[in-house]
């Protein structure tokens, strides 16, 4: 039985390799190299984020939106790829994003109430 499963796994991998896929679809386990590439992208984005600290004064207006965009990119890359939400059941995504959406809504209301965004 286990031999049959191993044979199946190796056949699946061979099938993937033949198509040059680094990660699977519909629930296949992505390879280590795929995660390493994602980590390199995340490291580059982190370096870009840090570089905003030394941006000249003339670019400071663009720094905040750029930082928020880079933060969102990193957040969704980690959640969907490292935490496997992209490859997993949609129920898990629903569980997590419901909590996240509720938190964002509640605390935006909180910040508006205390006039945080008033210039």
């Amino acid at each position: 039985m286990s031999a049959a499963v191993e044979h199946t796994d190796s056949a699946t991998e061979a099938n993937h390799d033949a198509h040059g896929h680094e990660h699977g679809h519909d629930g296949h386990v992505p390879k280590d190299s795929y995660f390493i590439k994602i980590a390199i992208i995340l490291a580059v984005v982190t370096a870009l984020e840090t570089s905003t600290y030394w941006w000249p004064e003339s670019l400071s207006a663009a720094a905040t939106p750029a930082l928020l965009i880079m933060m969102a990119i990193k957040f969704f890359m980690i959640v969907s790829i490292f935490m496997h939400l992209k490859f997993d059941s949609k129920i898990f995504s629903f569980m997590f994003y419901t909590g996240l959406g509720l938190a964002v809504f509640v605390y935006l209301v909180f910040l508006f109430t205390f006039q945080f965004f008033r210039t």
Binding site: A4, H7, T8, D9, A11, T12, N15, D26, G27, H28, V29, P30, K31, D32, F35, I36, A39, L42, A43, T46, E49, T50, T52, Y53, S60, A63, T64, L67, L68, M70, M71, K74, F75, I78, V79, F82, M83, H84, F87, D88, S89, K90, I91, F92, M95, F96, Y97, T98, G99, L100, L102, A103, V104, V106, Y107, F110, L111, F114, F116
Partner: protein, 212 residues
């Protein structure tokens, strides 16, 4: 024969839509209840950290009695800490992949490296807190100080709990004491660890990098 077997495996995955390389769970959803609970817990943690982050955002300008964020934050040091925590997420995902391949030796190795990187991050945070204290920012110095220490302290406690969880998993794996699905246990700890990392991604940007 191999083609038929491959087709069967694909069919099983498609039916349940789950990232699981084993038979579906005997639950009403066909998914692991443990994993479902972990995602529900992480969803609720968003509310906890949302509260702490928004309270900090509200009070970060209130530092009449002591130093403010621009005077004390050491961005290069915090960037290195952030990079370390980010790399611990990579080692964690490699541990999960090793566990799915039933490679216990590499699973333990990656889990240990993840715990060490986490400890390095916590060490950096302790150093940062100590230097801030010496620069005059105590917990009760100002509203900025209170909200900053509460937010980053809560995160530090989460990282510390994650390190303990990682070491416990390594310990019980080496003694072969895990009953049930070993890969799922590693994956659950992994989900918690990645969440802690993702919270730091937000803290690093909103607290440290965006000027007040």
């Amino acid at each position: 024969m191999a083609d038929i077997a491959v087709h069967d495996v694909d069919h099983a995955h498609t039916d349940h839509g789950a990232y699981e390389d084993h038979a579906p769970h005997a639950t009403s959803t066909g998914l692991s209840n443990n994993k479902l609970s972990m995602w529900l817990f992480l969803g609720s943690e968003c509310l906890l950290f949302g509260g702490l982050i928004s309270t900090y955002m509200l009070y970060r300008g209130r530092h009449e009695a002591g130093p403010g964020p621009d005077q004390i934050f050491d961005i290069p040091l915090t960037s290195v800490s952030s990079f370390i925590l980010l790399m611990s997420s990579l080692t964690m995902v490699l541990a999960v992949n090793s566990a799915k391949r039933k490679d216990d030796r590499n699973t333990s190795l990656w889990l240990t490296i993840t715990a060490l990187l986490g400890a390095l991050f916590v060490g950096g945070q302790v150093y940062e807190f100590t230097s801030f204290y010496h620069e005059g920012l105590g917990f009760t110095t100002s509203l900025f100080g209170s909200s900053f220490y509460t937010l980053t302290g809560f995160h530090g406690v989460h990282v510390t709990l994650g390190i303990i969880m990682l070491m416990v998993v390594v310990f019980i794996m080496q003694r072969d004491r895990i009953t049930g699905d070993k890969a799922e246990v590693v994956e659950l700890v992994g989900l918690y660890w990645h969440f802690v990392d993702v919270v730091w991604v937000i803290i690093f940007t909103l607290v440290y990098l965006i000027p007040s």
